[in-house]
C-alpha cells in the first residue's frame, strides 16, 4: 500500500534548544502509530509538526504527498489544550466548529454523544477536566477526519472515559497517531519510542 503520512528526518529546534531530533515516519492508510517517550522527549512537538502547526527546522512532513497545512480538512488534532471557549457550552463550541467546517450544526450534538458527554449544555469553563477532554475529543472527530493526531488523549479521563476513548481509537478507520507516555490498551501497527532518541 502507498504511504499516506510521511516524515523524513523531521526535527525541531527552538533557538539553541533541540526539541526533536530527526525522526522518520512512514504510515499507510489505516495504520496506527504509537509515539512513546518520557516528558520532554518531543512527542507533542512531533504531533504539532504532523499537524502543520509548527514548521520543521529540518526534514519534511507530507500527508497524501502534500504539506500538512494544505490538508487540514482531513486532519483531526488533539493537543494539550482543548481549543474550546470557556464561556460557551460544549454544544455551542461544537456548533461553532461545525460552521467553520461547513457542516450541519446537528453534527456537534452527535459528536458529543459519541464521547458520552452528558453536560453538553454547561459552559466548558465549568466542566471537569475529564468532561473538557471528552468535548475536545468530540471536536477532533466532528468532521470525520481521515487522519487523527492525538496527544495524550487519556489525560484527565476516568476509567469509563478512557475505555470509551480507547474504543473510539480502535474503531477509527483512518490513520492514527497517538502520543502518550502510557500505552496500555492502544493497539498500534508501528511504535516510535522517542525515549531512546531523546534529546
Amino acid at each position: 500500500m502507498n504511504s499516506v503520512l510521511n516524515a523524513t528526518g523531521v526535527g525541531k529546534r527552538f533557538g539553541r534548544v533541540v526539541a526533536l531530533r530527526a525522526v522518520d515516519i512512514d504510515l499507510t492508510e489505516g495504520e496506527t502509530l504509537l509515539v512513546k517517550g518520557p516528558n520532554g522527549s518531543g512527542k507533542s512537538t512531533l504531533l504539532r509538526l504532523l499537524a502543520g502547526l509548527t514548521r520543521p527546522s529540518a526534514g519534511s512532513v507530507e500527508i497524501e504527498g502534500r504539506p500538512p497545512a494544505t490538508v487540514r480538512r482531513s486532519v483531526g488534532y488533539l493537543g494539550h489544550d482543548p481549543y474550546l471557549y470557556p464561556n460557551l457550552t460544549a454544544e455551542e463550541n461544537l456548533s461553532f466548529y461545525s460552521k467553520l467546517y461547513g457542516l450541519d450544526e446537528s453534527r456537534g450534538a452527535a459528536a458529543l454523544s459519541s464521547v458520552g458527554l452528558e453536560k453538553w449544555n454547561r459552559p466548558v469553563g465549568q466542566l471537569s477536566k475529564g468532561d473538557t477532554q471528552r468535548a475536545a475529543i468530540a471536536r477532533c472527530l466532528l468532521h470525520d477526519p481521515r487522519y487523527l493526531l492525538l496527544d495524550e488523549p487519556l489525560t484527565g479521563l476516568d476509567r469509563s472515559g478512557s475505555e470509551l476513548v480507547l474504543e473510539l481509537m480502535r474503531s477509527f478507520s483512518g490513520t492514527l497517531v497517538v502520543a502518550t507516555h502510557l500505552d496500555g490498551g492502544i493497539k498500534a501497527s508501528q511504535t516510535l519510542d522517542l525515549g531512546t532518541e531523546a534529546i
Binding site: L53, R72, Y85, E92, F96, R139
Partner: protein, 233 residues
C-alpha cells in the same frame, strides 16, 4: 462569509456571557471622557453660540481630539483583551486547524471588534454630549465619523492585537504597533469631529474624509492579506 459571521457571533456571545472585554473598556472610556470634558467650559460645544462662552471656540477646536484620544486609550484595552482571549489556551490553533481562509478569520474578529468599539462609543458619546452640549444637528455627522473610524481601528486592532500575542512582550508590543498605525485615522477623525463642532458641516473637510476612508481600505486589505502570515509561526 458564513465562517466570518460565525467567528464574530462566537466572540460576541462569549463576551455577553463572560464580560471579559466590555466592562473595563467602557468604565475606562467613560471616566476618561468625563475627566477631559470637565476641562472644557460648559456648553462650549453649542454652535452657534448665542452669547459666546469664554474659550468656547478653542474648546470646540480641541473637542474632537479629546473624544478620540479617550476612544483610543479605552479601545486599546478592549482590542488587546479580544486578541488575548483567542491566544489563551492556544484557541487560535483551533481556528488555524479548521479549513477557514485566514482572511475570513480576520474579517470575523475585526467585525466583533467593530461592535465592541461601537458599544464603547455608545457609552462615551452621551457623556461627551451632556458635558459639551453640541447642537443636536451634529449628531448624525459625529456618528458617521465614529463608524468610519471604527472600520480602520477595528482592523488595525485585530491585525496588530493578534500579532502582539505572539510576542513575549505583549504589553509593550501592542501599543508600539497600534498607536503609530492609528495616527492617520485618529487625525482624520479628530479633525472631522472638531470641524463639525466648529462649522456644523463637513464642508472643507473632504481631505480628512478621503484620508480616513483610504486608510480604512488599506487596513482592511492589509489585514485580510497578511493575517495568514500573522497566524503562522
Amino acid at each position: 462569509m458564513k465562517q466570518a459571521l460565525a467567528i464574530a457571533a462566537k466572540d460576541l456571545r462569549s463576551e455577553i456571557r463572560g464580560k471579559e472585554i466590555a466592562p473595563a473598556m467602557l468604565f475606562f472610556g467613560a471616566t476618561l471622557i468625563l475627566l477631559l470634558s470637565f476641562s472644557l467650559p460648559p456648553g462650549s460645544g453649542r454652535a452657534p453660540v448665542p452669547i459666546p462662552v469664554a474659550g468656547a471656540v478653542a474648546a470646540r477646536h480641541v473637542a474632537g481630539t479629546l473624544l478620540w484620544t479617550s476612544i483610543l486609550f479605552a479601545a486599546l484595552i478592549g482590542l488587546g483583551s479580544s486578541a488575548a482571549i483567542e491566544h489563551q489556551g492556544s484557541r487560535i490553533e483551533g481556528l488555524i486547524m479548521a479549513p477557514v481562509d485566514p482572511a475570513l478569520i480576520f474579517i470575523g474578529k475585526a467585525a466583533a471588534n467593530f461592535v465592541f468599539l461601537t458599544l464603547l462609543e455608545a457609552v462615551m458619546l452621551p457623556v461627551f454630549v451632556i458635558l459639551l452640549d453640541p447642537a443636536p444637528g451634529l449628531f448624525p455627522g459625529i456618528l458617521l465619523v465614529l463608524l468610519m473610524a471604527n472600520i480602520g481601528l477595528s482592523s488595525v486592532g485585530t491585525l496588530f492585537g493578534t500579532a502582539a500575542q505572539f510576542s513575549t512582550s505583549k504589553s509593550l508590543v501592542l501599543p508600539l504597533l497600534i498607536f503609530p498605525s492609528c495616527v492617520p485615522i485618529l487625525l482624520s477623525a479628530s479633525q472631522l469631529t472638531s470641524g463639525l463642532m466648529m462649522s456644523g458641516t463637513f464642508e472643507g473637510q473632504s481631505r480628512w474624509t478621503i484620508l480616513m476612508l483610504a486608510f480604512d481600505i488599506v487596513y482592511v486589505t492589509l489585514g485580510a492579506v497578511t493575517f495568514e502570515f500573522v497566524l503562522t509561526e
